[in-house]
Amino acid sequence: MKKSLPYLTILLFGIYGAKLFLLHKISFYISYRYELFFLFGATVCLIVGGIGVLQVLAQNKNTFLKIRYGKKDLKTFTKNLPIVFTLLVALLLPAWTLHSASLSQQPVSLNNFPISSSRTILPKNTQDYTFQNWIYVLSFMPTQASISGKLVKITGFVYRAPDYRQNVFMVSRFQVTCCSVDATLIGLPVKSDKTVPFQQDEWVEVKGKFAVFLNRKNEKQVFIVPSEIKKVKEPEFPYTFY
């Protein structure tokens, strides 16, 4: 039994990979570009761990369940606590996306977004624009007035900084390059003519059009003026990927 523990550990990492794949949760942690590579790693773990466990089982058929633990085992267990903790958290807890509580740690950015280039092809209808399309347009627009009146339909979570008024929020997404560790918040500001009842981190779909207002610093800024805001379920792919 003791001999099979390292192989069992490898197998459990493989099972964790399979769990993420089957539940479509890999994108909660890493960019879609690395999914195949991650699956390769998880598959190797499943194969090596599986063969290893079976081999130890075959070699120790009669003694497998006769286990005696001593002080040395306790020491080994303590040494491997980080692995035990990781596997417990990974296998027993549900997969979570990042929460806006991390925003004191993550930069909130609209203009620092790395624009991939002129290769971006925009859909004909502005209501079909994705988050990335809008950020691209906002970064390259010649004047703010040029975007005024454009129709928008976008899904994101509600982010409200402590100093925002009750009728203002950002419809937001986390932008990920490689993995959640490098997540940066991107968002489009929404300004309603009445108090917005949605809570921080609630997922909403906002329909409306862009208009230019003066912000608190008396600078011109584009906001979405919503015609409809409705609560929606968290999407399967909650992040946007660069």
Partner: protein, 295 residues
């Protein structure tokens, strides 16, 4: 508190999920080296000239373009196969930067200023060779290794078995050693991210000196993979000085929280502190010069 805890777990698992395939590739390479490369062949492959041997080893990352966490098991195996401490250190420090994936992604990310990619590559080669050569002049290089790993190196049995069970045994022992430290490093890196506000670091963005220190600290904390960190740095290009981003791109792949924990499977704490300080000083120096010359 629950939300913070939730973020901690997401970030922590994100580091593990991102690193796992790189570690697996590293362990597979390490196992293949153990099975198919004999000590004699390795010694023959490495030139006798010390300077030349370090230079060649610093380009080995081209053959196995994995990020830094995948290189730790390979470096361990190379030492078990007879490479000296200085040669293995050169490989470990060079491979994360001197590999085609890192060069390509940096080139692509900073396509408006290719000097970033060029200086990053040169800095990687120079730092790895400089530290490696310095170590090669030391008489007793083994004193930089942990007692446990040094015993392993001294007592290694040079047998060439090709049985599957032997390959499995090598794989599992390396996996447990590396994953134990990777998980511990990921716990620390995620905790630091959740509990130290990054906004403090980001407020130094345009100061030519403080921005460098801030990006150095950020690179150390977030423990990103070297093959993708250029795109992350790019998102700071309008708020931070270019020199500070270069410091981030040079220091981050060589030394970060996760990596230090993993390198602890080979080197003593004292040696790791020394290496961290040396690389930090050189990275800061390059960043300052870059900002000064406004390249």
């Amino acid at each position: 508190v629950f939300n913070q805890l939730q973020n901690f777990i997401t970030l922590f698992l994100s580091i593990v999920v991102e690193s796992l395939p790189f570690v697996i590739v590293g362990i597979l390479v390490s196992t293949l080296v153990a099975l198919f490369v004999s000590e004699d062949r390795l010694v023959k492959l490495v030139p006798q000239n010390k300077f030349l041997s370090h230079v060649i080893i610093s380009f080995l990352g081209i053959l196995a373009p994995v990020c830094q966490c995948g290189n730790v098991p390979v470096a361990r195996r190379l030492m078990l196969k007879g490479l000296s401490v200085s040669q293995a250190t050169t490989f470990l420090l060079a491979a994360p930067i001197v590999n085609p994936l890192t060069v390509l992604t940096t080139w692509e990310a900073f396509k408006t200023n290719h000097s970033v990619a060029i200086i990053r590559l040169l800095a990687g080669v120079v730092i790895a060779n400089g530290i490696g050569r310095y170590l090669s002049w030391q008489k007793n290089q083994e004193r930089y290794l942990t007692k446990k790993f040094n015993d392993e190196v001294c007592n290694v049995t040079h047998t060439q078995k090709l049985k599957i069970s032997y390959a499995l045994e090598l794989f599992q022992s390396e996996f447990i050693i590396i994953m134990r430290l990777l998980c511990l490093g990921a716990i620390f890196a995620a905790a630091t991210q959740v509990f130290i506000p990054r906004t403090i670091l980001l407020s130094f963005g345009q100061n030519p000196y403080l921005s460098i220190i801030a990006m150095l600290a950020l690179g150390f904390i977030i423990s990103l993979c070297s093959t993708v960190d250029a795109f992350f740095a790019l998102s700071y290009v309008t708020t931070f000085t270019l020199g500070s981003l270069l410091t981030f791109l040079i220091f981050g792949p060589l030394v970060d929280i996760k990596m230090l924990f993993m390198m602890k499977s080979i080197f003593t704490t004292r040696f790791l502190i020394w290496v961290t300080i040396v690389i930090a000083v050189i990275s800061i120096f390059i960043g300052v010069i870059f900002n000064y010359l406004r390249l």
